[in-house]
Symmetry: D2
Subunit: 276 residues, 4 copies
C-alpha cells in the first residue's frame, strides 16, 4: 500500500507544470525530462510520494502525479479519431455496464474506448473488440498491454457488418463509419433488453442509424450530443474559457426489444432496409 503511493524506477508519471502543461514521462535514474519550461532530473523523483513538487533548472514548479486511465489514454497515438472523456463517461454510464459485464465493441480503432470498457468490466467481465484493420488491432494490443488491461479484452479481426459470433452480451458499442449496417448483428449479439450505443460525427450517420434501429428490433432510441464548457475560475475574473470544443460526435442509444424483431431473423435483413 505504501509502495503504491511512492514513485518507483520504471513507472510512468504525469508531470504537470506550473503553466498547466501535462507530460507522461517514464522515470529512469540518470535521465532528464526536458520541456520548454526547463528540465528536471528524473532520478530525484524515485522514492518520493506521488504529487511531489520539484523545480526545473529554470525554477519552474512541476508536480509528478500518478497518472489515471484517462491521462494515459489522452496520450495514445491518434492513428484514428479518439473518443473524448465527455462522451466516454456518458456512454459507459447509460450503457449500464460495470464489473462483470460482457461487451461487444467495433471498431477497436485507437483502443481508447476498448481500454475504458475493459477498465470498468474488470475483473470478471470481458470486452470483444472487432476491427477490420489489423494495424489498429496491433496498436490496441500494445496499448492494452501497457495499461494492464490486455487480459480483459479479446481483439478480433473481423467485420461486424457481416458477422458476429458473440451471444447474450450486455451491451454493444459501435464506433464505425456505417453503424446502420451493424444493427442486425448487434441485435443478434445482445441479450434481451441489452443496450446499444453508437458514436458518429455527422448527422446523416445518425439519421440512418436511428431509422434502421426503429425497424430493426430496438426501442427507447435516443440521440444526444454532449458539450463541455471549461470555466476559468479566479476570484473577480471568473468566466467560461474563450475557446471550446464545439463538437466531437453524436451518441445514439437504444434497447433491444421484440418490436419488429421478426424482420431480423430473416437473413436478408440488411437488404430489406434501403439506406439512401
Amino acid at each position: 500500500m505504501l509502495a503504491m503511493s511512492r514513485i518507483e524506477e520504471g513507472c510512468t508519471v504525469l508531470i504537470l507544470t506550473e503553466s498547466g502543461k501535462k507530460y507522461l514521462v517514464a522515470v529512469r535514474r540518470g535521465k532528464k525530462f526536458h520541456s520548454s519550461e526547463g528540465y528536471i532530473d528524473l532520478g530525484e523523483l524515485v522514492g518520493r510520494e506521488y504529487g511531489c513538487v520539484v523545480r526545473s533548472n529554470t525554477g519552474v514548479r512541476m508536480t509528478a502525479h500518478k497518472p489515471l486511465l484517462q491521462d494515459l489514454l489522452s496520450k495514445v497515438r491518434r492513428i484514428t479519431q479518439i473518443v473524448y472523456p465527455k462522451d466516454l463517461g456518458y456512454m459507459v454510464l447509460i450503457s449500464g455496464i460495470g464489473p462483470g459485464s460482457v461487451v461487444l465493441e467495433a471498431g477497436t480503432g485507437t483502443g481508447v474506448l476498448t481500454a475504458t470498457l475493459a477498465y470498468y468490466v474488470r475483473p470478471t467481465g470481458r470486452v470483444f473488440s472487432y476491427d477490420i484493420n489489423q494495424e489498429y488491432l496491433e496498436a490496441a494490443h500494445y496499448t492494452l498491454e501497457r495499461l494492464g488491461l490486455r487480459e480483459y479484452v479479446e481483439l478480433k479481426h473481423g467485420d461486424v457488418y457481416s458477422e458476429v459470433s458473440e451471444k447474450d452480451v450486455d451491451a454493444v458499442f459501435l464506433d464505425v463509419p456505417e453503424p446502420w449496417k451493424a444493427v442486425g448483428n448487434a441485435w443478434k449479439a445482445l441479450k434481451p433488453s441489452g443496450r446499444l450505443l453508437s458514436l458518429s460525427p455527422t448527422i446523416e450517420q445518425v439519421v440512418e442509424t436511428v431509422e434502421n434501429l426503429r425497424v430493426g428490433g430496438f426501442d427507447d432510441i435516443s440521440c444526444v450530443e454532449i458539450l463541455v464548457r471549461d470555466i476559468r475560475v479566479k476570484r473577480g475574473m471568473t468566466r467560461p474559457e474563450f475557446l471550446m470544443r464545439g463538437h466531437t460526435a453524436y451518441i445514439v442509444s437504444a434497447r433491444k426489444s421484440e418490436i419488429n424483431s421478426r424482420h431480423i431473423t430473416d437473413d436478408t435483413w440488411n437488404e430489406n432496409i434501403s439506406p439512401t
Copy 2:
C-alpha cells in the same frame, strides 16, 4: 443465465410506452399496471423475455425492459437535489475510480451518487458516505438495499467539514453546500495524487472552492459544466429538441499534491483561509 433474461414474479420492470413514457413496476400475478395509456395485466409478463411487447387494453404498445442502474435511480424519491447522468458519467470517468477503488463521499443525500460509485467500485472496493442528516442516511440505506449495493457502502453519520477518519482513499466526491470547508479533510483523507471532485450549482460556490483548493494542497484544478442536447431524429425532420436542461451544476476537479500542503498539517487550517 437464461433465467436472467426472463421476467420473474416479484422483479421490477421498466415499462416503456409507445409515446415514450417510462414507469418502474413490480411484477405481481393478479395485479394490473394502470397508466394514462390504458392498463396491462402484470401476470402476463411472467416467463416472457425482457424487451417483450404487450398491448394495453386500449391497444397501446408497451415494452417491458430490464431496468439498468440509472433507470432505477431516476425514480428515487427526490428528498434533495439529485445528480444527473451527464454529471455522474463525467465525474466517475475523470475520478479514475473502478473496481477495487476506495472512495469517500459527502453528503449522501438521495444516494444517487453513492449508488453509482458503489456500482463501479464493486466487488472489492468501498464507498464511505457521510451525511449530517440521519433521515437521508436511512433513505439511502433503503435505496442501496433494493439495488443490491448496500454491502459496498459504509453510511456514516457525521460532518465532513469537521472530521473524517478515512485515510489513503482514491477519490473524494463532494456534493455539499460549502465544499470549501471540506478541502482540508479531503486532503488528509486522500492518498498521494488522489482525486477530488466537487459538484455545486452556483458559481460563487465554485469560486470559493477553487480558491481554497489552490492554497490547500491541490493542483490540476479545473471546472467544467456539461450540457446535453437531445436530438429528435427522424428522416427529413431532424433537429435538436426545443426544450433542454440549461444547467444542473458545475464540476470542480483537482489532484492532491505537496503544493502548500504544510499549511494543512496545521490544525488551524480552516481558520487560516477566510472565505468571504
Copy 3:
C-alpha cells in the same frame, strides 16, 4: 417630448409584476387590469411617467413600462411559428440592412420578422413581404397597422417559389418550408453581392438549401444556430437557469455572386437541381 414619456389614455403599457410576469394592457379610465397577483385601476396610470410603480389591491408591486417593438411582437397571436429575438437580432445584423434598405421577405407568417425588418429600414426603405396564405397577410396587415409600420411594407399574395417581381433588393429573408425552391428567384431579385438569409428548424432543410445555394450563384455560405442562456444573477446564488430553449431554427446566410450563375438564367433551373 414630455408627453411621450407620460402614459396617456388609449396607449398600450407593458405591465411588469413583482414576480416577473409581463402583460400588454390598453389603458382605459374606469377599467381594471386583473391578474393572478391582484388588480389595478388603469385610470390611475393616466398622466404618470412610464416606469411608474403601482400596487395591486393585494399589495403586489407592478411597473407600467412603455413597450418596445419586441415586447409588442412577443404577444402577437401565433398563427404560425414565430421568429425569436436571438435569431432576429443576428439575421438583421449580418444582413447589413438599415435605414433605406430594400428587402424581400417570404413568408409573411405572423409578421414578426416583417415588422422587425420594417422597423430597421424606416423611413426610406421598404419591405416586400410574400405569403401564399391570404389569412396570414390579413393578420400581418393588422399587426403592422397597430405597430405604425404598415406604410413601410408591401404585403404581396404570391408564391416566391414560382415568381418574384422585385429587382435589386439589398437582402432576401426566407422563412418558408422549402427554401431551396426559392433560391433561383432570390438570386434574380438580389442586387450584386446582395445577402440571402434563410431560417429553418430542421437540418435536412438546411442541407438542401445550402447545396442549392452552392450551385445556384451564391458564395460565402454559412450556417449557424444561436443559443441563449439565461443567467439567474443574485449575489451568492448565481447560476444559469435550469431550463433553456434548446433550439428554434438554423440560420443560413449567403451572398449573391457570379459563381455558376449562368445556370440560373436558364428557366429550367428549378428542374435541374434534384432535391431528394
Copy 4:
C-alpha cells in the same frame, strides 16, 4: 443605382477566396492583391459588378464582394476587446433602438459598437459616445469617418462614472470595466422606461452590476449569454464545427423605473452601495 452595383476605382472590396479566407482591399489600377493563394490584378475589377469572379495567377477562384458594415468592422484594429456580431445583434434588438433613437454609449473603445449603433439610428438619431482614453476616441473618429457614420456620433472625452450631461436618451450601452459605477448616471440620462444594456466578460462584473441595478431604480433586469454554433453543411457530412468560441461576454439588460429611484436623486448614491 447602377453605379452602386459596380466596382469603382478607390472603393473597398471584400475578397473571398475559394478556401474561405476574407480580405478587405482598396481597388487601385496598377496594383496587385497578393495572398497565400496567389495574386490578382486589382485594375481588372474596375467596372465589373460586385460578386464578380476572378482567378488568381495560380488559378484560385476569388470573388469581389461589396463589404457590409460588419465586414468592415471585423477588420478594425483591435486596440481593445471588440464586440462580436452575436452580441451586437441581440443588444441592438432588445434595446429597441432604431432610426431616430438617441443613445448614450461608454466606452467608445474600438468603435465597433459605436459604429453599429450609429448605423441603426441614422439618419435622424444620434449616438453620444464617452471614453476616458483620448487615443481610443481618435481611432474611433477615424473608423467612423471611413464608414461614413461620423456625422451621427458625438465623441466625448469623459468618465461616465462621474458625470454625464445627456438627458432623456432612449438607451444606454455600457462596455466598461466597472459598469456598476455607471448605474446612477445611466438612470439620470435615460428617459422613463429607457433601456440599459451592459456587456461584461466576467460573472463577478455581472453580479455587481445587477445588484446595483436592483437598488438603483431599474427593473426587468436580466442576464444572458449568447452562443453561436457554426454548422458545416455538406450532404452526407453535416455536423457542427469542431471548434467554437466558448465565451465573449455576458449581456445584462434592464429598464429604468421608479423603483427605489429616490435613492438616486441623492448625490451620495455611489457611496451608499458598497460593491465588494
